[in-house]
């Protein structure tokens, strides 16, 4: 994580490349036997996983109940469009705000914790929110879910675009994804992001440097929850409904798994890679066997055991080896002592 030129950029070549490739997806996705909607899912889950990884990868905070924020965003999107205004921006803002408020509430209880205690509390809070979503029938629709959520038009003032069609929805979600990528990249490379990373590496030292670790952790939880809420809002719009199941423990585990498999601990793009691999595996292997989670689970276990840095980490290693070929491997061992 050394400072490089691309850390300072608002938009990096990698981003441009990724957006470009993603922009062509609807043109060829059907020819490889998939369908545009999986693209929508991939982008939404990518936003979610990037938000989640601000806590896990950047700050070292294991949240195992993150589905709560995603789900709350989904409900808030529907409830805002039903009760506040049938406007896309208002509904998305509602989803983010609801996520942020839930994050603040949870954060106040857990921001002073770390490690396993932090993880356990996130599970507990996740379960609480899930239970509420199931029981509070009058607001959430309970197990039946919140139905009839509309894909609202994208109103840009001068023009308004309809996104009821999956392909159009895909491009709208791609735009949202692009914005989130830029924001997150800037965030993790800002002084604030550096402090979050310092906290992951040593909370004790960071505190003794004069940083209020609690305030940083709390704010990171709020930001992560807000963007998870945004992802949830987009998901509700894509699905035209919101259900409690995205908030349950297993679903919360999925985002952890995707992020780790992709390599979120070592790479900014790790979560996105994990989401792509997971969702495509679900559809491809899932079409062949109903026990596809067994295969994916096995892959997850093997990765965590042998390649904890994930796919992105393995890729990084290959690039480093490729770059290092030809240079003598001496530099590391024979450094003079000083002090």
């Amino acid at each position: 994580m050394t400072g490089t030129a691309s850390d300072a950029r608002l938009i990096t070549p990698t981003m441009l490349g990724a957006w470009l490739v993603l922009a062509t997806v609807p043109l060829w996705i059907s020819t490889i036997g998939l369908y545009p909607y999986i693209g929508v899912e991939i982008l939404i889950w990518s936003i979610y996983a990037l938000a989640f990884n601000l806590l896990l990868g950047t700050s070292g905070l294991p949240s195992f109940g993150h589905g709560a924020f995603f789900g709350i965003g989904a409900y808030a999107f529907g409830l805002t469009q039903f009760n506040v205004a049938a406007n896309l921006w208002v509904a998305l803002a509602g989803a983010m705000l609801a996520g942020a408020l839930a994050g603040l509430l949870v954060g106040l209880f857990i921001a002073h914790r770390r490690g396993i205690y932090f993880a356990l509390l996130t599970i507990a809070f996740g379960q609480i929110f899930w239970t509420i979503s199931v029981k509070w029938h009058s607001v959430t629709g309970g197990e039946d879910g919140l139905l009839n959520i509309v894909r609202l038009p994208v109103n840009l003032g001068i023009a308004s675009f309809d996104i009821t069609d999956n392909e159009r929805l895909y491009y709208f979600v791609l735009a949202a994804f692009a914005v989130v990528v830029v924001l997150m990249w800037r965030l993790v490379n800002s002084p604030y992001g550096r402090i979050l990373s310092a906290i992951r590496q040593s909370e004790v030292r960071t505190a003794h440097l004069g940083y209020n670790v609690w305030a940083y952790k709390l704010s990171a939880i709020v930001i992560s929850a807000a963007f998870s809420g945004l992802a949830g809002g987009l998901f509700a719009m894509a699905q035209r409904s919101a259900f409690p199941d995205v908030m349950n423990l297993a679903q919360s585990g999925l985002v952890v798994m995707m992020t780790l498999v992709g390599g979120g601990l070592v790479s900014f793009w790790g979560p996105v890679i994990g989401v792509i691999v997971f969702l495509i595996a679900r559809d491809v292997i899932g079409a062949m066997t109903t026990g596809w989670m067994l295969y994916f689970g096995t892959m997850f276990v093997l990765l965590v055991l042998f390649r904890p840095e994930g796919i992105a980490g393995g890729f990084k290693l290959l690039v480093e080896r490729w770059k290092a070929r030809g240079t003598a491997p001496e530099a590391l061992s024979s450094e003079p002592r000083s002090g």
């Binding site: 800037r186 800002s190 992001g193 990373s197 004790v204 003794h208 002592r337 002090g339």
Partner: protein, 247 residues
């Protein structure tokens, strides 16, 4: 006037009393050594001084104001920096980044989410200056985990120095260093003398006695002896103790 003043500091963990009653004062600009046998409570005293541990009784005054019980970050902001006996570095950061996050200028923008750190040459230059002062000028871009042991010890101090502290607390800075490294460290600390107030816990007697203005000996949770190095050499307790020899 005393810059740091501990008065009747009592710390226990459960029913295990670690510090019975510490009375100790450090003058501005002084280099104050602390010695004592293993497990005497020296690190615990530092932890109390810097807010990690809350004293059960007693006061700790910094420039006259009671700071006992404040959070570590609040005490750090008042100008108290510390190094750690067990090295506590940011291992995924480069040497430069380790120092950079400790700079007051960095801390002032800790909640800045919109500007990139990379490419800020002001911060980088300031960090490199601090690195150069501890002899790590050439190691700026190297990841902390890849530095040698001696270099890591130097970085441990550089991070504390980067805070521009009024009071620098060093917990066994020579621990694990060879003769060479210890000599260089002594040189560094001598160059800091007078510029800031230093409190140093140290086992290496020769090191401590050659540098300190005054020394306090902590044993059984109390300061059992104090004075200048010359006075202490005559102290029967120090003579009798097996804290090591000095000529």
């Amino acid at each position: 006037m005393a810059l740091v003043e501990a008065e009747g500091v009592h710390v226990r963990f459960g029913d295990r009393v670690v510090l019975e009653e510490i009375n100790l004062s450090v003058n501005e600009g002084e280099l104050h050594g602390i010695m004592g046998p293993n497990g005497a409570g020296k690190t615990t005293f530092f932890n109390t001084l810097t807010g990690r541990v809350k004293p059960n009784r007693g006061r700790i005054r910094l420039d006259g104001a009671d700071v006992a019980g404040l959070e570590p970050h609040a005490i750090a902001r008042k100008g108290v920096a510390r190094s750690f006996q067990i090295m506590t570095l940011f291992n995924d950061f480069t040497a430069q980044e380790n120092v950079m996050v400790a700079l007051p200028a960095f801390r002032a923008r800790g909640f800045d989410m919109l500007r990139a750190v990379a490419g800020d040459s002001g911060l980088a230059d300031e960090a490199n200056e601090v690195l150069a002062s501890v002899g790590l000028g050439a190691k700026s871009a190297i990841s902390a985990k890849l530095l040698s042991y001696g270099e890591r010890r130097a970085l441990e101090i550089a991070v504390a120095l980067a805070q521009r502290p009024r009071v620098l607390c060093l917990d066994e800075p020579t621990s694990g260093l060879g003769t060479d490294g210890t000599l260089r460290l002594a040189e560094l600390i001598r160059s800091l003398k007078g510029k800031l107030t230093i409190v140093a816990v140290e086992h290496d007697m020769r090191f401590l006695f050659s540098l300190a203005d005054r020394i306090s000996v902590i044993h059984w949770g109390q300061v059992v002896a104090r004075g200048t190095p010359r006075e202490l050499q005559e102290n029967p307790w120090v003579k009798r103790s097996n804290l090591g020899s000095f000529e």
